[in-house]
Amino acid sequence: MFSFQPDRSEYPQPGLDGKLEIDLETGKYLKLWHGPNHPGITGNMSVELTVCGDEVVEGKTHVGYLHRGFEKLMERRTFIQVFPIVCRVCVPEPDFNEYCYAAAVEELAGIEVPELATWMRTLILEMGRFNSYMMFLGGIGGALGLGITGQWMTYVRDLMLDRFEELTGARIYHMFILPGGVRGHLPEGFAARMEEVLQTAETYLADVDKVMFANSVFQLRTKGIGVIEPALFEPYGVTGPNARAGGVAKDVRKDSPYLVYDQLDFEVATGMDSDIFTRAKVRRADIQTSIDLIRQILKKMPKDGPVMAKLPNVLHWKIPRGETYIKGECSRGEYGYYLVTDGSGYPRRINVRGPSYTHAMALLEHLIPGTNISDVAALMVSLHTYPPEIER
């Protein structure tokens, strides 16, 4: 019978000689349940820590608090009915799901999306990335007791949510990127109001630079801590800012451009130290990239045109047999949808590839031993994990 290696049902793990390396009976160790609700993560996820003094000797990740079975639910829904579900896979950055699903369906169904719609989609994705980073900055501050960052970023994020609201009709689950295009055009005067938000954001971010990045306490608690050896990137599937902070300039937007990224001018931010600080720094630079991209898009996008392709009747939409993998660079790294169709009116299989799965479950267990209890939260935040996307 197939068995998982290592067998995660046994914990702590026995050594090679069959003896327990960490023998709880000795009284030397203490078990500490970190989660499911704690400042280290946006959502619910636990780490079962074994500590010796204030040093963590082992950590086992526990997920499942947010399992809703979306991938299975999708197999029981028509192609159009999947559309309202996908955004819920990842709460803080829902738009990537909408884009990946729509693009996958369009590819298999042979639908060409109008040009304006691809610009709108890019805009939405960058707005979503911006908001996702707002949560990150708030989270990393919060994990280290710097509550003010969280308050400011929540405010700035809210301003961006106002833009989402007027553009898409909703604040959190936008349900705007429909297979075939997007649901509407930019409202009148949108660009000007967006510029206001971006300028406000820039003043707050300048203050975040002062209060957090230039803060000696922050630096002391993040530099040199939680280092991911670049050698781990490949085996652990590390992507996005986590990899870029280790000197690997990987970015799907550059490496295999999708939507209109090949028509936009931007640099991929990287760092060398691969520690918590560098990862935060890379993300800070990414925020600026997003702000620039939003400005560029609003300037360069066509002013008018259709935003929806002609769809077949969605009530009995059947898509020919096929499979595809659509990927993009979300704020945490490579995000992808694997879609298999069998010629019926329902997806045969949808598999979501979210970076949080690899980063927060496998990689975290590797990084945790040897850290200080008080650094665990910051370490977790620095991997930028969204539990709903782990569990789907």
């Binding site: 829904r77 028509t78 159009i80 009915q81 999947v82 559309f83 309202p84 579900i85 003010i148 400011w152 405010y155 809210d158 106002d162 609201e165 007027e166 009709g169 909703a170 689950y173 349900m175 075939g180 295009g181 649901r183 509407g184 055009h185 409202p187 203050d207 002062k210 209060v211 957090m212 230039a214 803060n215 000696s216 630096q219 002391l220 259709p306 935003v307 929806m308 002609k310 769809l311 077949p312 009747n313 969605v314 009530l315 009995h316």
Partner: protein, 599 residues
Amino acid sequence: MSLREVLTPFSVWKRVLDAPVSIADPFSREASEHYRGFHKNDMETCIGCGTCEAICQNGAIDMVPVEGQNTEKGDSGLRPMIDYGRCCWCALCVDICMTGSLTMSNEYTWVDSDPDAFRFIPGLNEPWKDKQAGYKRENGRVLSGTTRSPMGELHANERIDNFNEICVGYTREEAILEADRCVECGLCVATCPAHMSIPDYIAAVRDQDYDRGLQLLYETNPFSEVCGRICTHKCETSCAAVHEGDAIAIRWLKRHIVDNVPLERRVELIGAPKPATGKSVAIIGAGPGGLTAAYDLAREGVKVTVYEALPKPGGMMRYGIPEYRLPYDALDRDIAVIEAMGVTIKCATVVGVDVQMEDLRQSHDAVILAIGLQMGRGTRIPGSEGAGVERAVDLLRRITAGDPTVPVPETAVVIGGGNVAFDIARSMARLQKIKYGRVGLTLTALEDRAHFLADKEELVEGDEEGVLILDSRGPQEVMRDPSGQVTGLRTWAVTSIFDAEGRFAPAYDESDEQIHQGALVIEAIGQMADTSLLGDALTEKLEWNRGRIKIDSEMRTSEPWLFAAGDAVKGPDVINAVADGHRAARTVMEAIAQGEVVQ
């Protein structure tokens, strides 16, 4: 660690002076213009088609009866009830809505101590009912097709000098595209007199399963080849798609199915009738009503003999409808299937002459009367008596029969604006084209163009073929020269046809008088049944209802052995006659089973 890194964070103390950004009272915050908030439904525009219910991915919508909303043609009378415990505000229901009645307001706060309040029927009395702001579908109805696949047709030039069928039928690709647009609401099923399983056979077209499609057709209509061509398709007027786009071409899709199943295969798919019961039924009239009853009864193992006065079966389908609309071989195939069920059709046998009603009564378990409306009505205006004035149905019958004495003058005038008027006008136009090389036909009707009783395509095609269509003209006199030859028709302009209560009361503008030249005037204003075959005694014995044989809802006359169906009792329409035929057959079967019918 430098001193700078210790001090810099304190520089943001200036933010202490910022005003708070939190909204103190979230209830007063207006959502954006296009916010997807609580639902609204315009009860008058909503047709209860249920596409909102069908698309909802979480089963949040139920179609329920609502007081004050009645079931009527094209409206199920049901309205959506939304469960806000399940709704996710994706607005797909708004996007798919066939009429645009379902929308969303930008209202988003609702407090209630009763959890059931959140299962509500929008459009009744919600506080945001009249709120204008809220989500609207910017791109129109994009989730199902709005434009009909065009039907290939012969060009006017190609068809005016012959009687070839005009419509060529859908190709598979066209049919699939058209079938794709159907949202399967079923409003059409309720409207169709025969209640054909329209969404199901359209689905069969989508699935390219013509065998299944044909079986579905024969469940409710043995004249699908005929109806696929010339049905009055009332179903299409109640189609949900008609509100924002073209109705689904239900009739053409029906024809497409039959076109794709060869005759032998049809008989095979339907299967053999039930074993003989030893009962026998006589049917008078081999039109759609009589033959449908014959088909149903034969399927039940009854021995059926159909008596037809004319040389060939089909009734008005053969002798009324011109060949360019319904080719005879299409009709023959439908009738062949019926005959394959064991039905005997005795043509050129006139009841009342060759065989008497009383004989039929004696030798059968029941008699069904399906005689149709074979006699044309005349206007009886001055000059309308005598040679040079004909009735449309008589002429059509003679044209079908190939009568060489059919008068074809260079100019002719038709009175009437219904399908029969167009049938004779366009037939006569063809004969004129063949004989003289040009069309000289004027059609006058009381109605204005927007209210013609004929199908819209008749007007379009009539125009194309060079028929001069004059609307709002009331006939006053058939003009004759001193020798008595017809020279034309004198008409007045019609100012109104119906009075304020909708009653027929034509009013004329006598100052607007015209004379339309024509050596022949053809009256196509109405038809009546020829009930003389009943004989005086039976006529006297039967109960009548305002000139028609009185029947109950199950097609029984006042005589227990006699049943009546079709145009003669219900008015002219093939699909109505088919529906009647089914009902008559069912009643006869029940009556036979109960031994009611006295031999």
